[in-house]
Structure formats: structure tokens, C-alpha cells
Symmetry: C2
Subunit: 123 residues, 2 copies
């Protein structure tokens, strides 16, 4: 199964799924899937690129303050929920949901997909 | 009820609560409460200060990308869960939990406490 098929499956399996983006911490998008009928002016891939710096800073802060290695972080607004899952120091995955989407299931699916994505990124 | 009593109540009402910090976006702590029996080397107030820059960047990014005004963000590691709730552009509240703490209840309590904290900050 291609990266895009996996991202599509993640979006389709979670209630309220809008888009999924697989990215490098250098800000380059490896692959993405975005529901065709999402007509909002918000662009998930651009949002992911803009957030790349945040992920690097979170890694630095969590190590310096003994918070522990970051596994995920979530940003919520009235319009969107964004779940970022750290795959390695170099890669992360972003799942975007509607505000009433099933974030618990989204987090679960990202966690379980992480190991197979990680394996594929390094083979 | 003082700020510290409110922060203590938040920590004590949620399973796995460790600490709660009320902060300005300038990095100054207004008040905090930390469970006396938490003996880990991690310091919640220092973590809050270190994250101040992140919150400002999240505000900028979410506005620029049309994600919507940020309400909260959450960082999880193997050792801690940190829930940040934006009160205004100038203030936020941070609730720290153990990784198996009840984050759903923590988010609910922060949301419901927000309006009374906001009122007190401006009176």
C-alpha cells in the first residue's frame, strides 16, 4: 500500500477526518491526502509546513525541561483539530479533523500506524 | 477564592493531576499550584515559561493559515501530558497530568474555569 493510500485510510476511518500529511522536519511534504469535498480556504499542507518549526522547538524544550520525549501534540480551534504525531526526529504525521471529529480515535489510529510508517520511511 | 485555590482545585479534581500554572504570554507566572508529593526533577513552572514562545507562534500561525483562533494545545510524552488553554491573547493556563491522567476531564475543567479566571484577571 502506498503512503497516500495509508493517509487516505487514516482520514476515512476517523469521524470528521479532513486531511492527513506525512512530512519531514525540514518542512518538505512526503505525501498527503485531502478530502476532495473540503471547500474551506484552509490548506492542510501549508499549515503542516508552517508548524515544522514548532515541532523542532517542542523537541528541544521537552528534552531541556525533562518533560520526556514528545510523542504527539494537538492544537484545537473552533474550526479545526490538528493532531501531530512524531514518527522519528526527522519525520512526523499530521491528521486534521473537524472540531467535533473523533480525536480519540484519530490519536489511536496515528499511534498504531506509526510503526509501519516508520519502517517504510527507512526501507 | 484566590487564584491559587482555584488552581489547586483544578489539580485535585482531575485524576492524575500534578500541577497547574496561570501565566502571562510575557513568560511571567501569575500563580501556580504543584502537588507537594511530586518528587520528579521536572518543574512545571519552568516548563510553562519555556513554552511561552510556542503559544505566541501558534497564535500567529493559526491566524495566518486560517486554522481558526487557538483554544488549546496539548503536548504528550511518555512521562507527562501538558494541556494549555488560551484565556486571552495575554494569558494562558497550563494543567499538567501523569500520562495516564484523565485528559478529557482536565480539558473540560480548564474550559469551564476559563471564563471565571478571565473575569478575575480583568477586574
Amino acid at each position: 500500500m502506498s503512503f497516500q493510500e495509508k493517509l487516505q485510510q487514516l482520514v476515512e476511518r476517523v469521524e470528521g477526518g479532513i486531511a492527513c500529511v506525512l512530512m519531514g522536519s525540514d518542512g518538505l511534504t512526503i505525501d498527503s491526502y485531502h478530502l476532495a469535498d473540503d471547500q474551506t480556504p484552509f490548506d492542510p499542507a501549508t499549515f503542516g509546513i508552517e508548524c515544522t518549526g514548532l515541532l523542532q522547538q517542542i523537541s528541544t524544550i521537552t528534552q531541556r525541561t525533562r518533560f520526556g520525549d514528545p510523542l504527539e501534540f494537538v492544537i484545537r480551534s473552533e474550526h479545526h483539530t490538528a493532531i501531530f504525531r512524531f514518527l522519528t526526529e526527522e519525520y512526523f504525521i499530521l491528521l486534521l479533523l473537524t472540531p467535533d471529529g473523533n480525536a480519540g480515535k484519530g490519536r489511536y489510529l496515528l499511534r498504531t500506524a506509526s510503526s509501519s510508517l516508520r519502517e517504510e520511511l527507512f526501507t
